[in-house]
Amino acid sequence: MAQSSNTTSQRGMSSFVHDWSADKQTYQVPWGKAMMWVFLVSDTFIFSCFLVGYMTVRMTTADPWPLATEVFALSFFGSDPIPLVLIAIMTFVLITSSGTMALAVNFGYQRNKRKTVAFMVLTALLGMTFVGMQVFEWSKLIGYGVRPWSNPWGAPQFGAVFYMITGFHGLHVSAGVIYLLIIARRIRRGHYDQKGYEIVEITGLYWHFVDLVWVFIFAFFYLL
C-alpha cells in the first residue's frame, strides 16, 4: 500500500473521507450487487433470529406442539383432508418463480429486452399467487381460532411463531413483487440501455433469497 506523506498527515474527517474514497476496491462486482449482498446477509440474520426464537419457544414449552401436517391439511370438493397440500403448492409456486427469474437474468445479459421484461412480470405474478395463497392460509387459521397467544390444539406459542415468521416472509415476497414490477417498467422504458442489465441480476438475487428463506421455513416450521 503506497501512502504519500500528504495522505498520512491528514487528520479527522478529511482522513476518513480520504480513506473511503481512495482508489481501492475489494469486490470486483458492480457496487449495486455488492450492496444487495450486504443487505441479504443482514436479512439472513433477521430471519435466523426468528427461526432460533422459534426453536427456543418450541424447546422450552412443556405443552404439546400442534401438528403442522393436520393444521395445514386441505380437502378439495369434500375429499379427505390432504396433509400440508397448500404449503406444498406454495413451495412449487415459489420455486417456479425462482426459475422464471433465473431466465429473466439470462435474457437480460443477452440484451433481450422483451423477454427480460416478460419473465420479470411472470415472476411477479407468481409472487402474487404465493402471497394470495398465504392470505388464504392466514384466514383459514384465523377461522380455526389460532391467535398469537392461543390456539385450540396445544402450545400457545404456535400462533405467535406462525404469524411472525410467515408474515415477515410474506412481506418480503410482497416487497419483491413491487421491486420486480418497478425494475421491469424501467427496463421497458430503456432506462438501463446505456447502464447495462446488471440490475436484473441484482433484483434476481433478492428474489432467490426470498425463495431460499422459504426453503428453511418449509423445513423447520412445516415439516419438523
Binding site: 469486490y27 406442539w65 393444521v71 400440508l84 441480476e201 432467490h208
Partner: protein, 116 residues
C-alpha cells in the same frame, strides 16, 4: 466465466437445477405425506433442505462463480449462527427442565387433533 459482462451461463444449467429443486421439494413433501417419523424424518428433511439451499445459492445466486472475497463475505458471518443456535438450545433444554421439575408442567402430552 466471471467476466466484465456479468454472470452469463448456458440456460441448460438453470433448467437442470430448476428440475432438481422440484424433485427435492417433492421428496420433502413425501416425507410428510408418507408420515415418516423420528430420526429418519429429521435426517431426510434436513438433507433435502441443505441441498435445495445449496443449489439455489450456488447456481441461481451465482455464488459458485463469484470471487472468494465476495463468497467469504456472504458465507462466513452466518456461520456465527451455529454458536447462537447451540447456546439457545442449551438454555432451552434447561428452561424445559425447570418447567417440568419445579413448575409441575406435564411433558409428553399429545396435541389435540384438528377438526376440519
Amino acid at each position: 466465466m466471471n467476466t466484465d459482462t456479468g454472470q452469463q451461463h448456458p440456460l441448460g444449467v438453470y433448467y437442470k437445477i430448476w428440475t432438481l429443486l422440484f424433485v427435492l421439494s417433492l421428496f420433502s413433501y413425501m416425507v410428510d405425506y408418507l408420515d415418516v417419523q423420528g430420526a429418519l424424518r429429521w435426517t431426510l428433511v434436513l438433507v433435502f433442505m441443505a441441498l435445495k439451499a445449496g443449489f439455489i445459492m450456488a447456481i441461481f445466486m451465482h455464488v459458485k462463480w463469484e470471487r472468494m472475497a465476495l463468497v467469504l463475505t456472504i458465507l462466513a458471518p452466518p456461520t456465527l449462527l451455529l454458536v447462537l443456535i447451540s447456546i439457545m438450545a442449551l438454555e432451552s433444554n434447561y428452561s424445559h427442565g425447570t418447567r417440568v421439575e419445579h413448575l409441575g408442567h406435564e411433558p409428553d402430552r399429545a396435541p389435540l387433533h384438528v377438526e376440519h
